[in-house]
Amino acid sequence: MSGQSMSVGPGRMGAILLVAPALLMIGFLFVYPFGYSVVSAFTDNGEGSWHIANFTKAIEFYSKDILFTIVIVSLSTVVIGVLAVAIAGYLTLGENPTAVAVLKWLYRWPLFIPFIVSAQLMRTFLAKNGMMNNILTSSGIIEPLAAQSYLDWRGIVITFVWKQTPFVALLVAGAMASIDRTTIDAGRIFGASRLRILIELVVPQIATTLMVGLILSYVVMLSVLSVPLMINAQSPTMLTVDMAWRINSYGDYGVANALGIMSYLFTGVVAWFYLRQSLKDKGA
């Protein structure tokens, strides 16, 4: 397979030329302006010399928020992964055609709702006297006095999961639809439960797609400002809010950029996973 693809694809020079416009665009529109940010993280607020004062200040002020961000984003990623596999798994293995059709129609909607709109929706939905609690109390599921606001860390996780699960589920469902069905059928013949087939036979085959979907979600959640800003009024909060706050309130780009670089390090961790997995796949 790989031998043949070499013969039809562009050569080394050709490939580089074809990627060049995309690389130029990223370089010019992102890497170049980002360079200013890096410089500012290591120099601002000093006498122009290089130092790490911005990083120590960032840790001193926002250590809790750093931890909070990692926990929230990781937790959301895990929940998204589980739900996306469940949805995609049911779409692939479900036996009731009506239920599969309903689910297929249903699950995708939040995909088309921008983050800022999702945050707006959830803010009115999850509030203490918001629609969710109204429905729950009216239908007698919970006591009116037990109603509580979910506009805190739970609200952020709920919004992230609501918004990002369809994206990952869409990718994963596509991957599952195209895997070799003979293994699944074999599993069925031997009487394995659908859950076992999903976990032991299907998921390993779509692991890379799942990982890529989750990486994209993780990275997007790490850099969204509107959701934590609008949903979580308390502290601790997420790093994007702190960055905006350093800039808006103190005009302090140094610490803001230092925080940004730290959030890049979190991306670096998942990027490393991606690279390792991809190279392993390629070797296999």
């Binding site: 001193e60 002020f61 926002y62 250590s63 809790k64 803010r123 509030a127 203490k128 006297n129 918001g130 606001s149 506009l151 800003l229 609008m230 949903i231 979580n232 009024a233 308390q234 502290s235 601790p236 909060t237 809010v241 905006a244 706050w245 800039i247 808006n248 309130s249 103190y250 005009g251």
Partner: protein, 382 residues
């Protein structure tokens, strides 16, 4: 209709819609920070008024968002043009909050224009010369003044607290019923914290007018510790409007708000009509918003004309006081003459002029302001 014809139709109408504003008339770009009501004020009232007076001019308004964040975005846009060495900047008039306007003046981004306009003589208040410690005389015209106060529901709180001390006792008695928006989500929360520091950190005068002493912040530990304890019994709201909204939804019964927003929301039916305001002792801060024009505005003359109109007694009376419930930006006696007695007193229904004079405070000077906010981050919320 085929899909193709629908698409071409949609695209060509989109092209027309996008291309339209770039027609022959002069475009005056007004960029305004601040809440939605401020954007509406310029869009719906001031802009059309100016266009009527100066035919051939189109006023284009861009809102940049509430709080310092919105004004910071204007500053960044100006700074980017300055750094790129542009000779003509794409913003003609700005409306910005106090602290950021001071920073713009310090960075040389603003023009000295007050002496060029007629209404320049109508302002004598201290805030027209001094923006939190930065001298801005000549560079700004106050658009309005606004004030923070505690909004409450008299049906549930018949005897509202009169002071910060009483509020502390009240909050202990009724936990989670008082809400404010911390310091990261809008200025009403910052104002509440500032009032707290004026009350419990001492030496309010120095905080408001200097001189700055970096060691002073080390004496505030007790005030912050008390605030941290106070926060235990408080509900946090997601912003200036968030506090009003939670009052509306019955999730809190008391919280600090901007007086003008309070009246506008009440006028719109977005908060119950029975809510009232209380300016608690020893006082809470208020601030002006400023009109200014960038140093290299493309339409400098028109920009000055615009600000002149906006700060004329007639417009201040009708627009600022009557329609939008702000306290006037220019000196009150010029405005009062142009208004019905009734409209004027409506402005002071809950907060009397005397209370305003005694308990309406300015924000602290820039460096102390930063110290107060950083101290809060470090000792209260971390």
């Amino acid at each position: 209709m085929t899909l193709k014809s629908v698409l071409t139709g949609a695209i060509s109408s989109a092209v027309i819609a996008v291309a339209l504003p770039a027609s022959a008339e002069t475009q005056l770009n007004v960029m305004t920070g601040g809440s939605q009501n401020m954007v509406e004020y310029v869009t719906d009232y001031l802009g059309p008024l100016f266009e009527e007076k100066y035919p051939g001019v189109k006023v284009r308004v861009t809102g940049t968002g509430p709080g310092d964040a919105g004004s910071q975005k204007i500053l960044e846009k100006l700074e980017a043009q300055s750094a790129a060495g542009k000779e003509q900047w794409d913003i003609d008039v700005i409306v910005a909050a106090q602290k950021k306007t001071g920073e713009m003046k310090e960075k040389g981004l603003l023009a000295d224009f007050r002496n060029n306009i007629e209404t320049g003589k109508l302002v004598t208040r201290a805030t027209a010369e001094n923006a939190l410690g930065v001298y801005v005389g000549g560079y700004v015209m106050p658009m309005f003044h606004s004030q923070t106060a505690i909004a409450y529901n008299p049906a549930l709180v018949p005897n509202p607290p009169e002071s910060y001390d009483e509020l502390r006792a009240w909050v202990e008695k009724y936990p989670k019923q008082f809400g404010y928006n911390g310091i990261k989500n809008g200025m009403s929360g910052v104002a509440f914290v500032t009032g707290w520091m004026y009350t419990y950190a001492g030496d309010t005068k120095t905080l408001q007018s200097g001189p700055y002493d970096p060691a002073k912040k080390d004496t505030w530990a007790q005030a912050y510790a008390d605030l941290k304890a106070f926060n235990e019994n408080v509900t946090f709201t997601p912003g200036n409007a968030g506090t009003l909204d939670m009052l509306n939804r019955g999730e809190i019964v008391m919280g600090p708000v901007w007086v003008d927003m309070f009246y506008s929301w009440q006028g719109d039916g977005r908060i119950p009509p029975n809510l009232k305001l209380k300016l608690i002792a020893p006082g809470m801060p208020g601030q002006p918003y400023y009109y200014a024009t960038p140093a290299k505005a493309a339409n400098k003359d028109l920009a000055e004309k615009f600000i002149e109109l906006a700060t004329s007694p007639a417009v201040q009376a009708e627009g600022i006081v009557n329609r939008f419930n702000w306290y006037p930006g220019i000196d009150a006696d010029h405005v009062k003459a142009a208004l019905d007695e009734e409209v004027w007193t409506k402005l002071f229904t809950d907060v009397t002029p005397l209370e305003l004079a005694q308990k309406g405070k300015p924000f602290p000077i820039g460096p102390y302001f930063d110290d107060i906010k950083e101290g809060y981050e470090k000792q209260v919320s971390n």
